[in-house]
């Protein structure tokens, strides 16, 4: 076990850490984080409009008139989910330019312009513009555009040949504003040309074509039990070595999360089956109970069977309050779980079991798929009920919590036995030296 840990520390962890600090992935993650409050608001707008209790729908209809009270939710939707790709085109470019120490605002503006150049709003056949690209349909392409346009724009802005030299006496602020002129024009024009070539070749709506060709198959691939198991495994595995696993895989999680939620919401409104089981609220509500690795199960297991292990009890008491809000760093580094050979098996196993149970329960229809983006700090059980808008979701989270306790129980017990034995030996050794 120690040999394995040493091997991983040397050959695997440095690479994982590199991914965690990779500038484009960091820009994507931070870009999504900026939009999170809006996505949570949009989710609650959906919740208000579709609350699955007939009496509530009837009450609202009687109070405000049928069909009118949903306007609030619809308006909020228009300002949140419906423009997600547009927001991402801005925020990701902003963060990426910032990491290069280049002008973030200009880069973000150029990225948005470029996104429209390639057809975020594509001219429709019947003259009605197609705005679908602004929402989650255009998300992947918006990400790609944000990265490409920023790479081009920030490089061009560094070139002295493209700066217009102003005569002396012109205020520096004015000449700075001209510095972005040519780089911006060139960047946007490049994509205007590329799009024109595609249009000449018969691809009139680049965003939709890209969606059908790349984004939809990718999302289908990500929406499977093996993919969910892989994501849960990678996150817990990295955390075991003391790296913030969730943080490192977040760029991938977020990219599949939001389009999946939006697709689920649309299906819900149309009264169809919810297509995407795997998404971020799925992990937050049913798997990461108390934090990555379902460590709240470990806290409870320690309270049940390891009360005599003084160090474990101290850390568990300290971790209980943050654990309710899914913050588990005190457990990870204080217990510690990180690099702890006893905890390796349950810490990796628990999330895999919880993913499997939650996936199957959703797939066979016992629990609805998630339609609400909840903050990751929402306490366990409440999170499950909120994300799925159902009591069944809360029950599933509670069942998973029970499972995580069962998985951790024997290992907490073993840890206590070892600790007590060590204490005894230490006492015996002291006795020997005293004689």
């Amino acid at each position: 076990m120690n040999g394995f840990i040493a091997f991983m520390e040397k050959y695997f962890i440095p690479y994982a850490a590199k991914i965690g600090g990779q500038r484009h992935l960091v820009a994507i993650r931070d870009g999504f984080i900026t939009t999170m409050p809006l996505m949570i608001l949009g989710s609650f707008a959906v919740l208000i409009n579709n609350f699955p209790i007939p009496a509530y729908q009837k009450f609202m209809n009687n109070l405000f008139g049928e069909g009118t009270w949903q306007a609030f939710g619809g308006n909020v939707w228009n300002g949140t989910f419906a423009i997600l790709a547009l927001l991402i085109a801005f925020t990701v470019a902003y963060n990426l330019a910032k990491s290069y120490d280049k002008d973030p605002l200009s880069s973000a503006v150029v990225s948005v312009a470029t996104f429209f150049t390639i057809g975020a709003i594509a001219p429709g056949v019947d003259g009605i513009p197609n705005t679908g690209g602004l929402g989650s349909t255009g998300l992947f392409l918006a990400l790609i555009i944000a990265i490409l346009s920023t790479e081009i724009f920030t490089r061009l802005s560094g070139s002295p040949k493209l700066v217009i030299n102003m005569p002396d006496g012109v205020p520096p602020a004015v000449s700075r504003s001209f510095a972005a002129l040519f780089p911006a024009m060139i960047t946007v024009s490049i994509f205007g040309l590329i799009t024109a070539f595609f249009q000449a070749a018969g691809v009139t709506n680049l965003v939709i074509s890209f969606y059908e060709l790349v984004q939809e198959p990718f999302m289908g691939l990500a929406n499977s039990l093996p993919a969910a198991l892989l994501l849960a495994f990678v996150s817990a595995f990295l955390w075991f070595f003391g790296l913030h696993g969730a943080n490192i895989i977040d760029p991938f999680m977020q990219t599949i999360n939001i389009p999946a939620i939006e697709a689920n919401v649309k299906a819900l409104e149309a009264g169809k089956e919810l297509p995407y089981i795997v998404n971020k609220p799925f992990f937050d509500s049913f798997v990461n109970l108390g934090g990555t690795g379902a460590t709240i199960g470990l806290i409870i297991a320690i309270f049940i069977v390891a009360r005599k292990h003084k160090a474990y009890m101290t850390v568990s008491k300290l971790s209980a309050a943050p654990g309710i809000f899914n913050i588990n760093e005190p457990m990870m580094f204080g217990l510690p779980i990180v690099l702890n050979p006893i905890m390796f098996i349950p810490y990796i196993l628990a999330p895999l079991v919880l993913v499997t149970v939650a996936y199957i329960a959703t797939a066979i229809g016992w629990v609805p798929a998630c339609t609400i983006v909840t903050p990751w700090t929402t306490p366990p059980i409440i999170g499950g009920a909120l994300a799925t808008q159902s009591i069944a979701g809360g029950v599933l989270a509670a069942v998973n919590l029970g499972l995580s306790i069962l998985i951790f129980l024997p290992f907490a017990k073993i840890a206590q036995i070892q600790e007590l034995r060590r204490e005894k030996e230490a006492l015996a050794a002291e006795g020997v030296t005293a004689e």
Binding site: K18, G21, D30, L243, H244, E329, F333
Partner: protein, 101 residues
Amino acid sequence: MKTIMLVCSAGMSTSLLVTKMEKAAEAQGIEAKIFAVAEAEAANHLDEIDVLLLGPQVRFLEGNMKKKLEPKGIPLAVINSVDYGMMKGDKVLEQALDLMK
């Protein structure tokens, strides 16, 4: 007055530690401004701090941050992981003060 910044992924667990460090500073009569931010925010505060401490789970930021802070002469370090886990405010405060010496 010394300014100490803590950075972790979302600024959540470090903010727990900040409270403990403030208590330790008060008990020892040390005047210090201590705050925690998310990784994405860190770059906005580099000109106002005297020392930077990284949560052990984001230790991969060390190299990048060092490049930005060394020219300014601002020291940084990864928080000792056991002290971090046990939320030992006094030990982490001591680590920060040692770095500034």
